[in-house]
Amino acid sequence: MKAFLTTLLLASAANLYGAVDASLNTLAAVGREGAGNEAASAAWKEVVRQGPSALPALLAAAGKGSPVADNWLRLAADVIVENALRAKQSLPLKEVEAFIADTAHAAAGRRIAFDLLQKADPARANALEPSLIQDPVQELRRGAVQRIIDSAKTQNAGDAKACYLRALDAVRDEDQTRFLTGELKKLGVPVDLPKHFGFLMKWNVIGPFDNTDRKGFDAVYPPEKEIRLDAAYEGKGQQVKWASFESADEYGKLDFNKPFGMQKEVTGYAVTTFDSPDERDAELRLGGKNAWKVWLNGALLFGRDEYHRGQQMDQYKLKCRLKKGANTILVKCCQNEQKETWTVEWEFQLRVCDSAGTAILSAKADVK
């Protein structure tokens, strides 16, 4: 009888875990345009029903599907924790903390884990946070950086400077970086922002080509077919050739108005070579308020035909794979017909970094 009951219990446990795994797989599998939503809705309820015991497997499932799938998982985790707190039920916080500490886990899972730790036990999350200062996940290190910034505000200049430098080494968010740069400048410490962020500063540029009626965005001009830096082409009303150009802007903005003048209904191109020591994943992060396209090694990564609606750093994050050695990055930047004073900009900024926002620097400084 005892053996029978033990077997029954083990079988039930196996079924439960099997049910949770199947439900988690269903959530992780939601696809584009709501594909899988019907099954995910039922699976979500099942995961929530399982309660705290489902959390370790839930965290491990994050990052296996799309960011939308991760939200299904995040919301399930949220409700499990909320229900447990209300019912004064224990949560597997030791496992959650261990999950966070293991940087081999997917970023999405670790972010969800930290958020649920903050909700379930803020003191424990506070104690853990300083250790995340160099975390590979950009969002996880922000709080740790802020702690250092806050502590510096109450210290003398010498100690504050040391704090700010320590924070600068770790910071990845623009707003925190701007603050640190400002404070360090007051303390007489210059910061090499292009190097810190990984902005590409040296380019070859060519233009203008035509963008009348905004048709230049789709038009295929010669730089999109070949990169020959000694070539000359027929541009908009003139012959155009490549010329070297280096940005002087500390946020890496390449202003086409400088080499070409303030023109309207025109298209310019900028090309640079980025030398990667290894083949690796990276992100090209672009900011700009003109229509643009970006190619990496001849393959179009993305393009956007929006004009003068605003610009900010890291406005667009383009995931890519760098090859070992020389990588060609080509940017197309279109200026439209608008006459308002706030439409004069014809520029972009682009940096190379990893998913945490850490700059990846070209192994070679010179542009070819």
């Binding site: 960011p67 399930a76 035909d305 605003g310 667009y316």
Partner: protein, 413 residues
């Protein structure tokens, strides 16, 4: 049972305002289930606007936003967004009686969260069919929940259509017609409107739309009480009427329209912000609508008009309310109130309520010969952070719900 809500910590000025106990459930009205309430009219037929409103309660919000609250079965639902890039998207359910939080859900933005300085990621007002809440944020993340906060479905519309976004921020609020959630994702680039299955979030239809920024919201029109509603999609090109179930195009009015101020439907007439305001009378046979009148002198600017008691009202950004005869468009009066405004006015009976950007709620008696402000209430905004109010209020019986970046208030008499 009476309940005294603790003072909000927002500003010392709060101490000067009277805090009353909450009203009983009998003063609760019908639902206010979407942007501008029932049928997007901005009017609650069973509500009353007090001329001497007071703050009943206020609660802090964890993030920023300008979406309107909605009210369903006595519960208040509101969205906001927090984090350095407003990347944490919140949907919160409060008890309308006392402001206690019933549940909160948070998801991560999967789309872009950039907006211009005055816009917010939580700019789109959720909608409800009485059983479900459909919420969308400027990042084009959309989620449906039941009233208890259980997730029903989710969509990441930027994951699906990567170029559908607006660097100034999106703001169109969805509506639910039958089993279709109609949402407009219109912008300079990948521009479309969607009819989503309210049960699953899957596309029932997707219509390519003009490639142009558009912050207006869809509204509905029906020939009579027995007819199925028609969804009206507005853009700078004009109005397009579609069957919400299939997305079939029914008729079009193509003489231009506002990309900010949304249309309003009253007594079967569509008042659309086109060349001022144009009144349209649609036909049940889907022929193009008849233009009843046009007035260039009514300029709604960014704010959506309201039809109340036989008149159409609009407020321009500076704070002038224009009143015109809803049947003819003939101007009747103009009344200067204290602006500026971003939120649209709402109405009940013969009274309008408008809350300006500085948090001054103004109550207007529209029966006065030239309109008259008969009451005011200053919300205690945080001057240090230059907090402002951009939302359109929600009405519920004798209560008004209004929010800023940091708080939700219930006003009562």
């Amino acid at each position: 049972m009476s309940f005294i809500r603790p003072f909000s910590k927002l500003a010392p000025a709060l101490a000067s305002l009277t805090i009353s106990g909450f009203s009983s459930f009998s003063s609760r009205g019908s639902d206010w289930p979407q942007f501008r309430g029932p049928d997007s009219t901005g009017v609650a037929t069973d509500a009353k606007i007090s001329e001497s409103p007071k703050i009943d309660w206020s609660v802090p919000l964890p993030g920023r936003g300008l979406s309107s609250p909605i009210v369903v079965s006595g519960k208040v639902f509101i969205t906001c967004a927090s984090g350095p890039k407003q990347e944490r998207l919140h949907l919160i359910c409060f008890n309308g009686a006392d402001g206690s939080k019933i549940w909160e859900r948070e998801l991560q933005a999967t789309g872009r969260t950039m907006t211009q300085a005055k816009n917010r990621v939580a700019s789109c007002t959720p909608c409800s069919d009485g059983r479900r809440i459909f919420a969308i944020w400027s990042s084009n993340d959309m989620a449906a929940f039941d009233l208890e906060g259980n997730l029903l479905w989710m969509r990441g519309l930027t994951e699906d259509y990567p170029n559908a976004s607006n660097s100034l921020g999106m703001a169109s609020s969805p509506i639910v017609l039958g089993e279709t959630v109609v949402t407009m994702i219109e912008n300079d680039s990948e521009s479309y409107s969607l009819g989503l299955d309210a049960n699953t979030g899957r596309n029932l239809w997707k219509l390519d739309r003009p490639k142009s920024v558009n912050w207006t919201s869809p509204v509905s029109w029906r020939a009579d009480a027995k007819s199925q509603p028609v969804a009206l999609l507005q853009s700078s090109k004009g109005l397009l009427a579609v069957d919400p179930a299939s997305g079939s195009r029914l008729w079009e009015f193509a003489k231009g329209g506002s990309s900010m101020s949304s249309s309003v439907v009253a007594d079967g007439i569509i008042y659309t912000p086109s060349n001022g305001i144009t009144a349209l009378s649609p036909h049940s046979n889907n022929a193009p609508p008849t233009e009843v009148w046009n007035s260039k002198q009514i300029n709604p600017n960014t704010i959506s008009p309201v039809v109340l008691d036989g008149r159409i009202f609009s407020i321009n950004g500076a704070g002038v309310i224009s009143a015109a005869d809803a049947k003819t468009g003939a101007n009747q009066w103009k009344l200067r109130v204290v602006g500026p405004f971003s939120g649209s006015p709402v109405g009940a009976g013969t009274r309008l309520l408008a809350v300006n950007e500085k948090g001054l709620a103004q109550i207007v008696d529209t029966t006065a010969p030239s309109g008259a402000v008969i009451g005011k209430l200053q919300l205690p905004l945080n001057e240090e952070t230059k907090e402002f109010v951009l939302c359109t209020p929600a009405l519920d019986g004798e209560h008004v719900f209004v929010r800023s970046d940091s708080a939700l208030w219930r006003l009562g008499k």
